[in-house]
């Protein structure tokens, strides 16, 4: 086992989490996103459910799980908004699928890699959301590169910290 390289270890390493963590973390992300934004309005620039989706997707390395996880978290997030159910669900389903697919191929234990992935996924999520809202629903949505860049950077920084915290909760099985 010790002779295996990093790539081989990634293939054989299965990261699992206690069920309570797998349920509570998304709920806590939704609750914090909703509650903290009430007292700190600028907090809504964060997207904790997206970060949680990315983390579980790249950790579980299962595209189906990542897709379903992203769909459930996204629909739950939609339920808290005034928009139709499925907008965030579609976005996060795609993000979950891509994150899980990439997690199989690249080293997701590295913080730099996580940061780059998170940065790219945040941009992708925003672009898909803009596409759905602006083109599918024909609702007003203003795209600002500056705002989206700031948003992506902030989410990336918070994501790297959050991922490190969540790593403590996972179980490693060989």
């Amino acid at each position: 086992m010790s002779m295996l390289g990093a790539a081989a270890r990634r293939d054989t390493e299965v990261q699992s989490y206690p069920l309570i963590v797998f349920i509570l973390v998304p709920l806590l992300a939704l609750g914090l996103q909703s509650f903290v934004s009430l007292h700190f309005p600028r907090f809504d620039i964060l997207d904790l459910p997206l970060l949680v989706t990315i983390y579980f997707a790249i950790s579980r390395r299962n595209p189906i799980v990542g897709t379903v996880t992203g769909a459930i978290i996204g629909i739950a997030q939609d339920a808290l908004t005034r928009q139709p159910l499925g907008i965030f669900g579609i976005c996060k389903s795609i993000i979950g699928y891509l994150a899980a697919s990439l997690g199989v191929r690249i080293d997701t234990e590295n913080h730099g890699t996580r940061a780059l992935l998170t940065l790219a996924f945040v941009f992708l999520h925003s672009s898909m959301y803009w596409l759905l809202v602006r083109r599918l629903l024909a609702q007003p949505y203003q795209w600002s590169w500056l705002h989206e860049s700031i948003r992506a950077v902030i989410n990336t920084v918070i994501g790297v910290i959050l991922f490190a915290l969540l790593d403590r909760a996972k179980r490693r099985e060989y």
Partner: protein, 629 residues
């Protein structure tokens, strides 16, 4: 086939999940149902939302409860310094506000009555339900608040949500114990607003950055930053007049180029909301409790005003002497006097020195008169008068507000024409009843306020134009016509002799029309100081109405009789009539119309009236048989 599914199962799962969600979105955003069947969400979607809310709300409630509990312990048990003083201050402020409310309530009721008269239904905020904000959507693209009150608390969809500072939004979704509030900063929200200064109406909607704006407004330079914006009530959700915010700036609408968007700075601090009020009842009736409150506040207000008036009465020198004999003043405010002695009386116009012929039992009852009766018809725009000049004037015995003359063309006596150049030429016979008459202290002219038709208007021009007077005096007229004509006789007191202020009078009957009236010879045009211009009726019309008109004879020509003064409501014109000699009696040779001031410039009863200098050259009345015409 099996290998295909096993090979592409991940992608197939993704496609299925995405397809299902797209179909779900398409179902949700389909064409809305009619109003009576419309709901924000369908049943399935609503169920999913309810599940999500139910999952998220309990932790939020728990955290919120913990926070409020900790703060409550601090506020209720630790931080209680200065509470007693604050309570005292607040009670004082409450008393003051109740007094103010008494006055405002009367205005509000008056406004409601007027609106009922106009069949205008105004919505007032009558019942609100306080609610705590327990969460938000957490997404910057969706401005949604969650409150801890739901359907079981009486919340319904589209109820407005406000704060004391301004509006917040409206209820979008209602669950049993929680509700969603759509803020005014959301791009999908909408509220009818009006700019309070420029009165520009528009629709308030949030932009992508979360700032409310009035969209699609025509460019207007009058829109300035800081202008208040209030709700217009046109959206049938928000009551009218609630504060929305102030104008921040005006930006060009990129999608509708000529139009602009007015960015609004919200009055309510939407970023730091903790408690809101949900308006659960709006109506157009006052609840019994509010009626009781208004009555109590009015009683308190009256008591305070009574105290203030008592204090004022003690300090004012015009305190009523209790030993003074009580006078039978028709204008006395019995109610005010009866409320308490020593209270300063309200200021009233001075009463007449003596009763005139407009007092009761002298003037015929109005019921006996024929409304609009004209015995001297009008010819070619000439204002005609009623047959009985004094009869057309209602009594003013009780100082009431009965209109003196119902219609402006009704002239009961000679009308005075200002001789300051503003008088229209003789060809312009139709003249308004109220004319600009200059006033001098010695001869106060009568100017009927509010368009009250003045019957006799002694116009005295201090700087009279002698030349003009002479020209008018040269007009052919007969005093006989003046004496037989009850129509608009215009007398002008003109200080033609100079700036002495005493004018001589002369009668200048003026033919009212080109009907061949022959001028009379009894016109003293040597030194005219007073003109009397008579607009007579047509001969045919005069014949028809000859009897009543001549029986009463106009006061302009009857010796000893005086022109009935204009009696505006509440005024007692000290008309020096023959029956009631005035303190300034007319001289024996004065046969013409007596000028009677009827405005408020006459001296009060306690003052000795200034004797009026009798006219020196008043033309003798030319009494002719009425049948001459």
């Amino acid at each position: 086939m099996e290998s295909f599914f096993s090979r592409y199962k991940n992608a197939l799962v993704l496609i299925v999940v995405l397809l299902a969600q797209v179909i779900g979105v398409a179902i949700q955003v389909r064409r809305p149902l009619p109003k009576e069947h419309a709901q924000p969400d369908a049943g399935g979607v609503r169920l999913i939302r309810y599940w999500a809310i139910s999952l998220v709300s309990p932790p939020e409630r728990l955290v919120h409860w913990l926070g409020t509990s900790i703060l409550g312990v601090w506020d209720n048990y630790i931080d209680l310094m200065h509470v007693r003083q604050q309570n005292k201050d607040l009670q004082g402020e409450l008393r003051r506000l109740r007094i103010e409310q008494g006055g405002i309530a009367e205005d509000a009721r008056q406004g409601q009555r007027l609106q009922q008269l106009l069949a205008f239904k105004e919505k007032y905020v009558y019942k609100t339900l306080p609610a705590q904000i327990i969460g938000t959507s957490g997404v910057e693209q969706s401005r949604i608040l969650s409150i801890d009150k739901g359907a079981k608390d009486g919340i319904a969809v589209d109820m407005p949500v406000i704060t004391p500072s301004g509006i917040v939004g409206r209820i979008r979704e209602v669950f049993p114990h929680t509700s969603q509030v759509l803020e005014i900063t959301d791009p999908t929200s909408g509220a009818g607003v009006i700019l309070s200064t420029t009165r520009i109406r528009g629709i308030l909607r949030g932009n992508a950055l979360g700032q409310p704006q009035v969209i699609s407004v025509m460019p207007d330079d009058r829109i300035k930053a800081g202008e208040p914006v209030v709700t217009s009530g046109g959206d049938q959700i928000f009551p009218r007049g609630l504060a929305v915010g102030v104008v921040d700036r005006v930006v060009v609408d990129s999608e509708r180029d000529p139009l602009v968007d007015v960015l609004i700075r919200p009055a309510a601090n939407l970023a730091q909301l903790e408690e809101v009020l949900v308006i659960t009842n709006m109506g157009d009736q006052v609840t019994p409790k509010q009626k009781l409150d208004m009555i109590q506040s009015e009683a308190a207000s009256d008591a305070e005003q009574l105290k203030a008036s008592e204090v004022l009465a003690e300090r004012l020198p015009s305190r009523i002497d209790p030993d003074a004999p009580k006078t039978d003043d028709a204008n006395s405010d019995d109610s005010a006097d009866a409320e308490g002695e020593g209270i300063a009386r309200p200021m009233r116009p001075p009463s007449a020195l003596h009763p005139d012929r407009f007092t009761p039992n002298i003037t015929p009852a109005a019921a006996s008169l024929t409304p609009g009766a004209r015995l001297a018809p009008q010819s070619e725009g000439v204002l005609t008068t009623a047959a009985k000049p004094h009869a057309a004037t209602p009594s003013n015995s009780n100082g009431g507000t009965t209109p003196t003359v119902a219609a402006a063309p009704k002239k009961t006596g000679p009308d005075l024409v200002p001789d300051d150049g503003s008088r229209p030429p003789a060809a312009m016979t139709a003249r308004p009843a109220v004319t600009g008459v200059s006033t001098s202290p010695s001869h106060p002219s009568t100017t009927a306020a509010g368009g009250t038709p003045s019957v006799t208007r002694p116009a005295t021009n201090g700087g009279g134009n002698a030349a003009e007077t002479a020209v008018h005096a040269a007009k052919p007229a007969t005093a006989a016509e003046a004496g037989s004509t009850p129509s608009a006789t215009r007398s002008v007191t003109n200080n033609a002799a100079g700036a002495t202020g005493t004018g001589e009078r002369m009668a200048i009957p003026r033919p009212s029309s080109d009907n061949g009236y022959s001028p009379a010879a009894s016109v003293n045009s040597a030194a005219p100081k007073t003109r009397v211009i008579v607009d007579g009726p047509l001969p045919s019309a005069a014949k028809k109405a000859a009897t009543p008109a001549t029986a009463t004879t106009t006061p302009t020509t009857t010796p000893g009789q005086h022109t009935p003064a204009t009696t505006t409501p509440g005024q007692h014109a000290p008309a020096p009539t023959a029956q009631h000699p005035a303190t300034a009696p007319a001289p024996a040779q004065h046969k013409g119309p007596e000028l009677v001031p009827d405005d408020g410039s006459r001296p009060p009863p306690t003052m000795v009236p200034k004797p009026v200098k009798p006219p020196q050259q008043t033309p003798p009345p030319q009494q002719q048989p009425q049948g001459n015409r």
